[in-house]
Amino acid sequence: MVRRAARFLKRLFTVDPAELVPSGQRDLRLDFFRGLALWFIFLDHIPSNLVNWVTVRNYGFSDATEIFIFISGYSASIAYGGTMRRRGFWLATARILRRCWQLYVAHIFLFVIFTAQIAYVAARFNNPMFSEEMQIVDFFNDPSATLVQALLLKFRPANLDILPLYIVLLLVFPLVLWALERRPAWVLAASAFLYGVVLATHINLPGYPPGEGWFFNPFAWQILFVIGALLGRVHGSAEPALPRDRVLLGTALAYLLFAFLVAMSWHIPELAPIVPQWLGNLIYPISKTDLDPLRLIHFLSLAYVTMWLVAEDAPFLKWRVSRPLVRCGQQSLYVFCAGIVLSFSGHFFLIEVDDSFVAQLAVSVAGIALMVALAYLLGWYRRAERAEGVEHKGSPRPLPRA
């Protein structure tokens, strides 16, 4: 096993991506699982929803955030790595920064919707019992501070903290990618070192209110993005990227089982003895902010097992029932934003109109249906635009001027 792992790492660090022949086919696994993560994020963001029992966070340490960040790193590496090799550093950088800008605008858009919702709740519900909770609204009473802090990404209300993480990770990605092309082993070492520093010192980016850091500490979460980018770099190589090792698989499965049992002990009081005090002292707290190693290992195990089970050409990826997920994964930014807005509305419906299980199910299904509809609409639009572009290119007539 060790020899195989060493060979794999060597290959990972020495392969020249320029020599890889891209299959030309999109790896549907990326779209499928990113779509799944988006659905999970939507469901998890509706707090009073029994349907979110289906999501991955209830059965182990990691959750959909890890899937989203890992796949984002992986596909960023595929998307911009090629550009950097073929067209150079500056064009790749420009493309990455354009993407950052899109994410930033999307985040500010979500922030405005969030603020509107907060303002509505504050105006309508003033039960003194919750006046302490409502102090979260006080932040919005001083727009000069809140708006500026939000624009600086220092003020990130709950549930709006994934995009800012993604933005800062992408902001430094041109340099990471540049280094990955030359010294991948050094990049991984530097990334792991920074992660280690975070675990030891808890350094974090500054947030707002002053004195507090980011909920998702970018200095910690970068490791997942970098691992994704590193694997994405050798994407499409003829040899499987990861060694298919039974011992490694067994270890991963055993760890997943351990995490599953621990997670069950949170939900089922009868299972509490699974985690005796000494074990609790060992594993808790499991920090989400600093991407606790237990979470990181859990995600990597999950990803490894998934890669074992799901080949790139797995037939189910092309099944008709998988299409909605794949389509959502292909339009991830828009579908992500829609999911966040829909989760606000869905939650609001549940607490204001009807909170029965039927309503929870209906809200969940309706939300996902709308996300899928949006993904199809965007896909159709993009194809239509492309078709038109081809038409124009093919025609000798100059384009009509607007």
Partner: protein, 264 residues
């Protein structure tokens, strides 16, 4: 979660209820209702952990001094009067469960206080009250301010140690279930750290969040009404139920302590 898992001690109290109503004691009638109204899932209704200092005081027939230290909700926000807030009602509920016991309560709660600010008062104000039991409610103000989770967890653990060094038993209480602020204010990570702190210190947790969520889901309380009167009724009900459940939790701890003694 199914209804048959609810802890619902005894029925058939209709006659007594009628009697109370006839006597016009609304408080008494409410007390009777509590068994059904304030029902919660069995697994969070009681504890197997002891409260040795409370048990010792009860045995010695000395006054059991209790300190409640928390933030807004513990200072009585929502209740129609301070007497209707859960800390004041707790002594009344305990009086019913321990007719021979004497309970003296000091409420040191301050609106908006962080766990760390409360912990800083343990050696001074809390120690001055010589408590046998401290009920420490926190997590909400910390979530509003976005206090670093790791340091929140550390404060809980050192806080529990400090209180125990004062010869006091400790019950932690987590955040309220506040449906309208759920998407804006996520108290879950703070509640997680609280759960881990009580595990590492073998302390008792009062599952206020789960209980309130349960009452809302069961339709016992409804926070969506815009009517002021309805709100006050609901808020008093919640404070009453919390006092009632706290008293029962303390009773179960005292009982399990007594069983532990019998085994030795």
């Amino acid at each position: 979660m199914t209804r048959n898992r609810r802890a619902r001690p005894g029925h058939g109290l209709g006659l007594a209820a009628a009697l109370f109503l006839v006597l016009g004691g609304t408080a008494a009638a409410e007390a009777l209702d509590q068994e059904t109204t304030c029902a919660v899932p069995e697994e969070i209704a009681s504890t197997k952990l002891p409260l040795p200092h409370v048990t010792a005081k009860l045995k010695a027939r000395e006054a059991v001094r209790i300190v409640v230290i928390g933030s807004g909700s513990s200072s009585g926000l929502g209740a129609s009067s301070l007497a209707e807030a859960y800390p004041a009602r707790l002594t009344r509920e305990l009086g019913k469960l321990f007719p021979d016991g004497k309970f003296e309560l000091t409420n040191l709660s301050k609106r908006g206080q962080l766990a760390s600010e409360m912990e800083a008062r343990f050696a001074s104000e809390v120690a001055a009250a010589h408590p046998a039991l401290v009920i420490w409610q926190s997590g909400t103000a910390d979530a509003v301010k976005g206090v670093d989770l790791a340091s929140f967890g550390e404060v809980l653990e050192t806080g529990i140690d400090k209180l125990r060094a004062l010869d006091a038993d400790v019950i932690l209480m987590n955040s309220q279930y506040s449906p309208h602020t759920l998407t804006a204010l996520d108290t879950e990570p703070y509640r997680d750290y609280m759960r881990w702190a009580i595990l590492s210190r073998s302390a008792i947790l009062f599952h206020r969040y789960t209980m309130m969520k349960y009452w809302v889901e069961e339709g016992v309380i409804d926070f969506s009404s815009p009517s002021k009167a309805e709100q006050t009724r609901n808020d008093d009900l919640v404070h009453g139920c919390i006092a009632y459940r706290l008293a029962l939790l303390i009773e179960s701890a005292v009982k399990s302590g007594a069983e532990g003694d019998a085994k030795e």
